[in-house]
């Protein structure tokens, strides 16, 4: 921020007229507005993408009418609909909390984008505690969710909120520990430094470094982050078929839109974090120096891939029951993430020669193949083969 303001004052005389603190304030507001606008537009794109992905997975087309080509303007139509809807607040609802809840959830989701590096110089603030800031700010959403559930004066909403709080808090720990496995090789919490530690080509990405543990840490983080954003198979709080709509049952119109947008923004944030910490951020997989001009596009494309992956999982898998969810967090993901941390530390400490890394990679691939064969080959098959005809 200071560098940018100095740059402005030194190179453009007109900016020197405005007193410095005011200039800081203006730059802050402008950059927040830019990031807010960009993420909002991206979120509208995701709303459309979700419906198209859902449609195609379900053997149908999804939106096709609004705007002509594959219904691209569907999100805009949805946005207008949310604006003009009546704002209903239940009579016995706790009004201040009811109004504040969506705002807190929205702020918790969007304010994390301040440190996300879209390219080497394209970020609002390069905090030296980048990833730590993201984790702490996105935890604010829990408060918003509990407020939403409580203030709705609705037992079902309360149930959804309590489940959600338990879920998010439990999954924070595997998230943090799995991310540590990517922070350790970089040696810094700053997101830009983490990406720069992965420069040079896709073999340097943390996903592929420290052979089994980088990969496992990425998978653990992705699964835990799915639970953080309340997506299926972890969407108990919104479990539509059980609790109508969980903690946002009583919300309508723009307030509901806030929850909705925050969810997609959170998904993009998860994609951005996976990209930054495991997939080399804005770096292209090959010819990274030559393609550095395309850095923001590469970053957004990588993140969108993970958002697509999350949508794919939502429309394929059923939902876990709440006790199974808790079991998964504490007894499956947490031990794995600790093991990864241990392994990554061992790799960094022992500094074995490069050939060991290759050997470890080959072993990892064999292990994954064996695991896949055991898990998939052991599926129960129908015991009789149907023969057509009488």
């Amino acid at each position: 921020m200071r560098d940018f303001v100095d740059y402005l004052i030194n190179n453009y005389e007109v900016w020197g007229v405005i007193p410095r603190p005011l200039l800081y304030l203006l730059v802050m507001i402008a950059s927040s507005a830019v990031i807010l606008a960009f993420i909002s537009v991206l979120v509208m794109f995701f709303v459309w993408l979700e419906r198209k992905v859902a449609g195609h997975i379900q053997d149908r087309y999804g939106p096709m009418e609004v705007g002509g080509w594959h219904g691209w303007a569907q999100s805009i139509a949805d946005g207008i609909k949310f604006f003009v809807k009546e704002d209903i607040i239940p009579a016995l609802a706790d009004k201040p909390l009811f109004v504040m809840a969506p705002i807190i959830v929205f702020v918790g989701a969007f304010s994390a984008f301040v440190v996300v590096p879209f390219s080497r110089s394209l970020m609002v603030a390069d905090l030296n505690i980048g990833i730590f800031y993201i984790l702490s700010v996105s935890s604010l959403t829990v408060i918003g969710i509990i407020m939403a559930g409580w203030s709705s004066n609705n037992k079902w909403a309360l149930y959804g909120a309590m489940r959600s709080a338990a879920q998010i808090i439990s999954y924070e720990i595997p998230v943090g520990v799995a991310l540590l496995s990517a922070i350790l090789p970089a040696g810094s919490l700053s997101l830009r430094a983490i990406v720069e530690a992965q420069s040079g080509g896709f073999w340097n990405w943390f996903l592929f470094r420290n052979p089994p543990f980088g990969f496992i840490a990425c998978v653990v983080y992705f699964i835990a982050a799915l639970a953080e954003v309340n997506r299926t198979p972890f969407d108990i709080p919104e479990a539509e078929s059980e609790l109508v709509a969980g903690y946002h049952t009583e919300y309508s119109g723009m307030r509901f839109a806030f929850f909705f947008l925050a969810e997609y923004a959170n998904m993009f944030l998860v994609g951005a974090i996976v990209t930054t910490l495991f997939l080399g951020g804005w770096e292209a997989p090959i010819f990274s120096a030559a393609l550095s001009g395309l850095a923001p596009i590469i970053f957004v494309l990588k993140s969108i891939f993970f958002v697509f992956l999350m949508m794919w999982l939502r429309w394929t898998l059923p939902r876990l029951r709440v006790d199974q969810l808790m079991y998964m967090s504490w007894k499956v993901l947490l031990p794995f993430s600790f093991a990864c941390l241990f392994g990554v530390s061992a790799w960094i400490l022992l500094q074995p020669p490069a050939v060991w890394e290759l050997v470890a990679w080959i072993l990892t691939v064999c292990l994954l193949g064996a695991a896949g064969w055991i898990l998939l080959g052991n599926q129960a098959q129908p015991t009789k083969v149907l023969r057509a005809g009488s």
Partner: protein
Amino acid sequence: MGHPWPWVVGYEAGLNMLETADLLKEGIKEELQSDEMLLNMGPQHPSTHGVLRLVLRTDGEVVKEAVPHIGYLHRCFEKHAESVTYPQVIPYTDRMDYVGSMNNALGYAITVERLMGIKVPERAEYLRVIVGELNRIASHLLAFGTYGLDIGAFTPFMFAFRDREKILDLFEEISGARLLYNYPRIGGVAKDAPPGWLEKVRAFIDYFEPKIKEYNEILTFNKIFIERTANVGILPLEMAISYGVTGPNLRGSGMRWDLRRDDPYSIYDRFEFDIPIGTGEMGTVGDCWDRYWVRIREMRESAKIVRQALNQIPEGDFIAPEGLKAIKPPKGEVYVRTETPRGELGYYLVSDGSQQPYRLKVRSPCFTAMSVFHEIARGGMIADMVAIVGSLDIVLGEIDR
């Protein structure tokens, strides 16, 4: 407890330190007993398969007691049947189990035919079996799709309905309606199959049989689905028999009982088909997964029956001559039971010789299935309530009539 100095209580009672500690523990447990919550699911609820109201007494997420309240869809079917003529009852029977309405009307038609001694022509019998079994497939597809939806998988629902649409198109061609057909009539069927219809049915069966494998891949053997449904809502065989549960719910508990084989009606004794039962493959015998798996395999068996019927169907009349005249059964009473997709549907008909039934009582399979719900739901979690109701495959139209 209440006494301000608990250790004094122990001392005064002559207890040593360990015994006093036990006394304290009991008191603390009393204090920490969490309150039970009365939760109301329905009548408007996304996953109670109709207008069913479940009142749950829960301790946290665990359900201590689940009481179903029915009657929201009661439309006085049995009273109506007393004031209309015999053929006019058929549309009413369609509306009981509206998902498998061909089978309801079939059961009623057989009841009146048995009372009157009407012999149904061969072609009509085969047409009735074909539409009845197609309707069974459609009904099980709906059960499968909505069960997936309850558990949280959105896609199998779309797949099931895509295939169900094809069956509904076939039904529209032959009877004029998509859901409530008024097609099986007393003495036969309403109209003959249009030209080309039987080939279309064959084409559908050819298309449908490989689809079951698709359903198995996306839902049946999905680890998450198995974890949600195996060992949940276990219905022991003795309890099923004592409550009078029939159909796939009884077969899921391990008993190979199917009225099409054990008390044959119509021409079902001419077809070869298996009776799938639940064997506790994924969990315990009689859990939700078993009942669901029975339905999936029954779809396959129904496809087999349809294929055999298509091979055997002769030309001929589609309705007996008595069916075209005024229906006036002799005085008497008869009870006929048939195997619908939901279980044993029984019609008890009392005739006084006039053109209107004197009394028509229906024994509804979903009613007995619902009656066992409070037993098998105890101790489950709220998410399990949804899984159990879905696995019983109830249709409120039939429960309430």
